[in-house]
Every structure is written in C-alpha cells, then in structure tokens.
C-alpha cells in the first residue's frame, strides 16, 4: 500500500453477499486493489465470479456488505443518496455490454443526457450570484451541452447519426454512442462491463480502438471487466478475480 497516495480508487476489503431466504451466497470475499490515474485496468475472471458485482459497487450502483471504496481517499458509501447520485454523474462513466441507450431519445440527446441531468448545479457553481446570470448561463449551457455532445459523436465517428434513434442504429454504432455518453461529463473514470461482449469482431475492434484512443488522448482512466483475452493483454494492468478474491498471481 505504499502507492496509496497516487491511487485514484482504493478498494478495501470488499465483501458482497446475496441472500436467498436464509441462505447466504457470498460473491466477493475481501477484495483489495487500487486503480491508478490514467491507467487501463482489466478485471478478468471466470463467469459468475463477481466481476460485474464488483464493477457495480465501484460505480456506487450497489452497496457492499462490508468494506468500502475510496475515490481520492473519500469513502463514497458515506454519501447520502443525492450526493452519491451527483458523484456518479460527475465522476463516473459507464459502458455496459448492452448499450442501455434510451429508446425515446436521439443519439445526440442520449449523449447529452448526463450533462442535462447535472445541469442546474453546474451552472450555479459557475454563475452563483444572480438569477439573470443563471438564465444566461442556462441558455449558454444548453447550447454548449449539445455542442459538446456533437463533438463527442463526431469523435466516435457518428456525426451523421446524431438525430437517429437507438433502434435505427447498428449494434456497433449503439455501443459507440454509449461510449460517447460515458465521456460526456469528463468523468475521472469510465467503468466498462464487457464493452465488446455483444459485438462482432469488426465492431468490437473499432470499439476497443476508441477506448484506447480516449485513454491516450484524454488520459481517461478505464476499468474494464472482460473475459476477452486479447483485451486483457492490451491493458496496462490485469486483475484476476478468483473465488471472490483477487488472485495473487494477478496482483502487481
């Protein structure tokens, strides 16, 4: 733990059990590791070993049974629901195996959604003083939100598709929109759960290219859960999850 000062995320003795009636089903049994800024970290392991559960807890979507997660030395599970939601909005991006785009919104709106969601407080922190300033800021912000969303879509190569609905996009295109969405609020870390699990090899290659490009250009931290061997090998570092624990072989 000598490197703990430079850790972006520190996972400490994480336990998670599911309960089926009286029966306890332990999934994570004391997971300890850390994520450094700007690294590409792959979490690998057999199916059902708890990789996704770990990722959900990292993203504060689920709460651990014991242990906790520190982001920049802050215990996120001490936050109340609202603060946790805000934290998620500002600091974490998600990419799932299934794109999870909103079917009723266009690609552009899907990408912009997290900024719209975070909207009001961001403006007020910029122009905290008068209502007028807020109003001006809100006009400016809406425009800049969509401008940024457009830029991101262009970045993932979907400039032509911004007014399309998810049902009008191909699987690879949807996943690229999802990646653009994850980057919208410039989060410190992007959590990806089998981002290429549902794609053919060509689309999957394009998506991986994109992730590495982001990492190289913007210095975004990525935590990728996968059982894709090739992906794991490309990562800066790999963490192996075995029997609910980090296997020593994989530890740095």
């Amino acid at each position: 733990m000598t490197h703990s000062r430079e850790a972006l995320i520190r996972i400490k003795d994480l336990h998670k059990s599911y309960y089926d009636g009286e029966a306890e089903l332990p999934v994570l049994q004391g997971v300890d590791f850390m994520v450094r800024p700007s690294e590409m970290l792959a979490i690998v392991g057999a199916s059902g070993v708890g990789k996704s559960t770990l990722l959900h807890i990292l993203g504060a979507l689920d709460r651990p049974t014991a242990g906790t997660v520190f982001y920049e030395e802050q215990d996120i599970f001490t936050f109340p629901d609202k603060a946790l939601a805000r934290f998620r909005n500002e600091h974490i991006g998600f990419v799932f195996q299934f794109h999870h785009l909103l079917p009723e919104f266009t690609a552009l709106e899907n990408v912009a959604m997290s900024a719209i969601l975070g909207g009001v407080t961001q403006q007020s922190s910029v122009h905290p003083h008068t209502d007028k300033a807020k109003e001006i800021a809100s006009c400016y912000d809406t425009r800049s939100v969509y401008t940024r969303a457009q830029e991101l879509l262009a970045y993932v190569g979907l400039s032509e598709r911004q007014e399309h609905y998810p049902s009008q996009l191909s699987g690879g295109e949807r996943q690229r929109v999802a990646i653009a969405r994850a980057l919208m609020n410039q989060p410190q870390v992007v959590l990806a759960d089998e981002p290429t699990g549902n794609l053919d090899s060509r689309s999957s290659e394009a998506v991986l290219e994109l992730l590495w490009l982001m990492n190289a250009q913007a210095g975004q931290t990525f935590v990728i859960v996968t059982h894709n061997k090739e992906l794991a090998e490309r990562a800066d570092r790999t963490v192996h999850l075995v029997d609910g624990k980090i296997s020593t072989a994989g530890k740095w």
């Binding site: 979507l61 939601a85 934290f87 998620r88 079917p103 009723e104 919104f105 969601l117």
Partner: protein, 486 residues
Amino acid sequence: MKFEWFVASRYLRSRRKQSFISLISIISIGGVALGVATVILAIAVLNGVEHGLKERFLANEAHVVLMLHGSDFFGGYTQRIAQIEALDEVVAASPVVYSQVAVFPEHSKRIQDVIHIKGIEPAKEDIVTGFSRFVAGSVDFQNSPLIAKAERLSDNTVTGGIVLGARLADRLGIVKGDILRLVVELQEHPINPDTFIPDLSNFVVIGLYESELAVYDNSFGFIHIAAAQKLYNRANRVNAIFVRLRDAEVAPQAAPRITDTVQFSVLEGLPIARTWMEVHAPLFAALRLEKTLTVVIEALIILVAAFNIASTLIMTVMEKTRDVGTFRTLGASRGSIMGIFMIQGSVIGILGTLLGTGLGLTLCWLLSSNSLRPSPWWALIVAMPVLLQVLIALRRITPRPGGFKMALWLFWLVSIGFGLYCFVKPISLVELGLSQIYQMNQLPIKVNWFFVGFINALSFLICWLATLYPAWQAANLNPVEALQHE
C-alpha cells in the same frame, strides 16, 4: 427540474414520433376530463334548480308572514302595518285573511276540492307579491263586468269576484265567468248529510292566476279582503300580514324585528313571523343533500380517473424500468426519478382537468343558451373529418411537418365543437312532462364559479396523489436490477 421535464415530456408522447401525445395518455386525460365535465354540469343543474326555485318563490311570495298562533284574527291592522312599513328593511306589508275552504262549481252537487283562500287588498298585495302580474283577466273584485253578467244568468246572489289558480280551474272544469261556491263554515259537530245545509257564498271567477309556481296555480283562490272579512264575519280584522323586504336574504334577521314592532297583547295571542326560508326549508334541505351527494359521487368518478392515471404510470414505470436503471447510472437521484413520473402524471391531471372544465362549461352554455342552432343536417359536416382522416391515412407514407399535426387536432376540436353546438340544446321540461314537478319550463343551468374552482383544485389534488405511489415505486427500483430488467 430541467432534466425531469425533458424526460417526462418525452414519455408523454408515444413511441412513434408521429403522434402528438400517446394513446394511453389521451385515455387518461379523457377519463379525468369526463369526470370533471360531468361534475361541473351536474352541479350547474342542481344549482340552477335551487336558484330557479328561489327566484320563483321570491317573485311570488312574501318574504315574511306574520300570524298569530292558531291563525287567530286580530284587529288594528292598519296601524300595525304602518309600524312594520316604518322599519328600514321593509318595502311594504299587506293585510291578508288566509284560510282554507271547501268549494264546488255551481253546477255540481257535492264538494269537489278544498282550496286555500287569500283575502287581499289588491293594491298592497301587488307590491308585496306582484299579484296582478300573474293574473289573466280582471283583478277588480267588486266591479268586474263578469260579475254583473253572472248575476243576470244565475238564480243565486253573488258575493264578489274570485281569481282562481289556472290549473285549479282546469281541474274543477270552470272558466272565467262561471260561479264557484265556497262552503264557508262547517259545523264542528257531526253533520247529518240529509238535513245539513251549508253556509254558501257564490263567487264569480273573474281571472285566472298563472305563476311559475305549481302550488299556487293548483290550489289557491284570491278574493277581496272585505269579502273575506264578511265571509268569516270578522269586520276590520285579519289573520295575517304579508311583508316584502328590500333584501330577501335578511329575512331571518328581519323576522324578530317585525314581531317586536307589532305589539300583541297577551289576550290577542302569540305572534309568529315565518320567513320564506322557513316555509321552504325542507325543499332547500333536500336540494342541499342532493348537491352534497352529487359532489361525493362525482369525486368518486374523478377518483376512478385518478386510478386510471396511477395504472398508466405503473405501466410506464414497468415499461421504462431499464431506462430508470440507465438514468440512475448517469447520476439521477431517487428524487429526480420520482420527479419524472410525478410530472408525467401531473401533466395528465392538469390537461384532463382543464379540458374537462372547458367541456363542462361549454355544455353548460349550450344547455342554457336559447340561440337558434343550425339545422342538425349541417352537423353532418362533422362527418367530413372522417373522410379527411381517410385521406390522411393514404398520405401516411409521406412525411409531414408538425404543423400539419397541430392543424389536424384543431380541426377535430372545431368539428366536435360544432357538432355539440348543433345537437346540444336546452332540455325542455315541458316536453318531458316535468314542468309541473320542477315548476320550470327548461332545465335550469347556473354555473357556480367558486365550485368550478374547487373541483379543479380537488381534481388536480386527487390526480397528484395518484402519481405518488408509482413514482415512489420507480424511485426505489434497484439500479442494478433495473438495468438487467428484460
């Protein structure tokens, strides 16, 4: 709230972008609208009945009637009337001899009816109850030409003229100029029908009284006060004073002042002043009860509509479970998720309430306006939109601008409005044979604006409450499970 509005407004629309608003939202809005429209209409009718009856009572009747306990006669009435008229709130007071008598037409052999007789001073009575306005014929009780004519034709001596309720006259089968015989005083001990000779007075029908109040038209006869006094052998005495006030609503306060003003001695008896409200208290109480029940029933109808909203929202929440999971991963708090569905439900509630108010008030106006409507054949024009819709269906393949959509909605609205305008007319109670029961010719409508406001607030509150559970349910979905929801 920007985010919540953004999402809620999208959810209100249908999955297909062509539609202005989704079918399920329309059904929910329609439910609320119908509930609100019927309650406004129902209360307007009940209100109209109450108001109409009140108006008629006030037009036909004295506001306060002063009598002695047991309807005893009293003297010195001219002076007492002067005292009453000196009161600020009093317009006029009129002396009356009031009683019930048995009657039969001249050509009949036996008693046919028992009627109310009012002996009046015509000039005074006119001010107090507007008597002569309702009389077809003469009100000259002493010198009407009909009296002289009847005297010539009949063997009996004539006491004077009588103005008879129009429907009563119909029932007795007599017309103006006929003689009506009044059986004035029946002996109180058992009568031997073979030897009994009643004390009869003959009155010539000089006019027919037809007001809008069935009770008078059905059972009243008016004679001159002097004739009535002679009939009962009570010269210069009356047994009632009818009073008209400047403001009918202050009758309860005015009544005790009137009894205080006219001092009766212990020997004369105990005075009682009855207001028009007391006279009709059972009727108004019944109307109030009916109104209360209507509000309760209609509130239940709105409640049903609110359940409709709740089920719409629960369905939306189920359909959008994955979306909720996505929003949570993007950083939406529980409050935001709750906000989305509460906004959606509230918008349905507000639109439904406003639409219902519009519809209810339109129906109220159509049912009360006697303006000439176009022939119903013109309403066939309403069928035109159907043809147009067919054309539109053919055009469906081609994309069209949103403005066209709005124009279509407007077109339908106008068509339905015009259809209503042609078909919805005031309901004639005469044709339904109910005019005597309700004592009105057409279904009365009176909109109570305070109540419209109240029902708007109530409806919105109920709809808002209906959103709470589904929204709470959505807010408490587990984000991980929601994401994996199929």
